[in-house]
Subunit: 578 residues, 2 copies
Amino acid sequence: MDKILRINVSAEGGPTALEEGLGEYAGLGGRGMTSGIISKEVPPLCHPLGKDNKLVIAPGMLSGSAAAVSGRISVGCKSPLTGGIKEANSGGQGAQALARLGYAAIVLEGKPADDTLYKVFINKDGVTIEPDNSLKMLGNYATVEKIKAACGDKVCCISIGQAGEMKLSAATVAFTDMEQRPTRHAGRGGVGAVMGSKGIKVIVLDDTGMGMRKPKNPDAFKSANKEFVAGLKQHPVTGEGLPAFGTNVLTNVLNEAGGYPTKNFSTGQFKESTKIAGEALAQIEKDRGGSATQGCHRGCVIQCSGTYNDKDGNFLTKQPEYETVWAHGGNCCIYDLDTIAMLDRLDDDFGLDTIEMGATIAVAMDAGIAEFGDGEAAINLIKEVGKGTPLGRILGNGAKVAGQVLGVERVPVVKGQAMPAYDPRAVQGIGVTYATTTMGADHTAGYAVTANILGVGGSVDALKPEGQIDLSRNLQIATAAIDATGMCLFIAFAILDQPKTFQALLDIINGFHGLSLTADDVTELGKSILSKERDFNARAGFTNKDDRLPEYFKNEKLAPHGVTFAVKDEELDQVFNW
Amino acid sequence: MDKILRINVSAEGGPTALEEGLGEYAGLGGRGMTSGIISKEVPPLCHPLGKDNKLVIAPGMLSGSAAAVSGRISVGCKSPLTGGIKEANSGGQGAQALARLGYAAIVLEGKPADDTLYKVFINKDGVTIEPDNSLKMLGNYATVEKIKAACGDKVCCISIGQAGEMKLSAATVAFTDMEQRPTRHAGRGGVGAVMGSKGIKVIVLDDTGMGMRKPKNPDAFKSANKEFVAGLKQHPVTGEGLPAFGTNVLTNVLNEAGGYPTKNFSTGQFKESTKIAGEALAQIEKDRGGSATQGCHRGCVIQCSGTYNDKDGNFLTKQPEYETVWAHGGNCCIYDLDTIAMLDRLDDDFGLDTIEMGATIAVAMDAGIAEFGDGEAAINLIKEVGKGTPLGRILGNGAKVAGQVLGVERVPVVKGQAMPAYDPRAVQGIGVTYATTTMGADHTAGYAVTANILGVGGSVDALKPEGQIDLSRNLQIATAAIDATGMCLFIAFAILDQPKTFQALLDIINGFHGLSLTADDVTELGKSILSKERDFNARAGFTNKDDRLPEYFKNEKLAPHGVTFAVKDEELDQVFNW
């Protein structure tokens, strides 16, 4: 993993590939790499779909190694959705394959001279780029099928669907999973639109003949990894809840806590929640011959995913995530899992962010485009997006644009990005993260649901402002570091609660890279990434006024607790004062 | 003009009216009043369509008096288009009528409990407010017809069309002209959407029984006004060019200068320009029994407007302005005046900003929605807006939103507002104004076309960056002051070139108000307005990064001169350092 692949799409004859050494980016991985390159090389005021933006795809520092759950990959750019820096994180096979092929990053740069669509092949012998307009306006599933037919069932695909080709701001970059299906997505912020603007439909990774990356200190690495895996297995979240019910185990928990955003964030509980909760989901999956316990990439020991079959027992989609079930479910008052699974499938196929789309459909329902609870209408709306009709394009550009175009005032976004599945009034720590993260509203950037709701990593009263700033700050720093390692963010549960597991993580990194990092060094790594991102956003024109929730979260009380978001603006301004 | 009328639309039983004294706003008028109230009373981070935004309608300091050309009115709010402060300025009868009725401002505030539509009547006896859902989704023309049928042909209407009711960001507030037609518009920044969000369809002003406002010093006022009128008549622009050919006299001038933005700002000359120039327009108007020389309000001595009849000699629309002819004409490669006049009529009827709509249709043409030059398609697109179809809503929200939704990179906006009819590469002074004004791209905020192109108020090479900062700064200061007086901005030509005419303006103000203002005081007035606006925008999150043109104006050369916008960012940051 000692080289960067730059694909310049500006050339008249089609994209050209250039490999170079890591240079100043040596040692970076994942979000550290994407935010490092973007903050250094992309002019912050450039148009996100123009020649000066870049799309960086980077496996984590430990990806491609034998380290457990190290198969996460970062996709970075200036976001078409937020106008700020973006790192969207995905599972799937991409990180492992790209890392084993020796690439610390792929950088797509420039602007195509025409609208020819290209596919990129990368294997142990190098890089090939070919035009292929037969892929135009194919979904991710059909695209992957064509690649499989040509390249076999071992390759990994990084692709965009129709949404990315249409440069919609909710477009994702899809990564194939272990079953070679395009179910894992760098979902947020419109990274797929940037890939589309570069004219690249699919990047095919074939790591045949490439072994695992070797640790500098094999013995230390191996024993640390063993300790680390034991720690993950031992923690109730990563060892029991997630494997049994997936992330959707949260539905009942958040609903009980009164922080489950329902009907476009108008109330905090959904009376039909049990019908779409993880428990119900797992039962359907098992009953129909699917699976409720499955990993998204080689080396996963948590196994929070699964397989959702239709009523006839045929594969429909992967196990929908909690955020997806909420976005297309409770937030739209829909409580039919088959409908939600179909929406998940369509989003994956078109290449759309499920969180943004669910939030957007709820806004459209608020505008009267469809009735809350009408699942068939929701499916038809997503199909409009795939077809690129005017209405589809409105929705495919996310909740903020849809709110403006449809004349809706209550739009739950920060920095133009839709809020995920936790109402910030009832989970005030996540509200601090939504408001202040460089990413726009993003739960993964500092998952304060831990101490606010789950009693993980301490306990901070979810309904009060006290303690939320420190909580969010520390989590944002830790998250930035974890996102650099290539480790799944879900390790946070175990490392927050179990000092031995955290030490094991440090030992894995040190054993692999021959370093002697301390906890403080990891903190510094996180801070340095956040500082680069903050600096980029400042140069793009962001101020503390962008670190705010929409006013109505401060004014409108949320049932059942009757709470408003009470963290003061002056406190929000302290999150990055460390 | 010693009271403010506040209409609170929040009450369950419908809007309530409250008259109050001027208080701290005493002495303010026009833009001074609107920006004074907005900057003081509106939370800068509020939603533009929410309960905390206000719509302020304020005649100028001299409106309602015998002062020549003093019939301009300001409409202010937080703009749904830019997110910043907005003052949109209009002619028509509103300023004179409102001032004579004694109101220095009408303030619409709060948020309606339901979607009932209201009409407001104001006469010498006071204010009446009535629900009238029969007005729903009527155009401005039909709305005015209904009011005329009920109230006679002396009243003045301030209304919104379908665009305002739909809260589209390009929606205007319409004012009836001397022929009681809704042809004069506070056009820019979506002020009509804010009026729509307050549930007020029309405000009817009946100034029967109210005399002209009386000057404190009648003799001084009268003789100054005489001198002032003589100055306007004597200047070649206000005395000859504008009366003969209207603002559209500029088409050939700008085209010759290579600064006429053509085909969505892709080149600086339009080979068909003479077919749509003021000379051709005036000929058609005369040939068909219309008029090429007409005022837009009582007391106008410039007479830059006119009447455009269709081929059968029936009234179609008022004389389209230069900006309209450009926006719907050259910028879309359309060169048929009947088509352009029809687009003007439709915009006026739906209540849409002609500049924003022309710029947006050009962006849509760049996206392939229609062919450049296809006038019938352009008419159909505007009709889509009036119908509120998804495509219509996309377009009705302006060029920036349309660009994002349709995936177009080259979108000529600043702060989200579309550029008017002067390419900033070939008229660099206007580029400085576009970039830095608080309003978003707006030629009227500091009309550097004067010294850049027209040789008025000195001469500064239009193609070079030198001298443009000072030019734009001084014009922005002077403009803010003129916009406070209620005087038509076109007086600037005469007062820039003729010291005696400028002195006459001072004497008019002093004679009317019993003051002894000097030129320095006028400068201070302008600065104080700009400072309030800048402060509001800063509190709304604007930084110097918002004071920039889109990057492509710096990178792409404009034919025929092969120029890019060359004023440096650091220089732009000096505009408000005085």
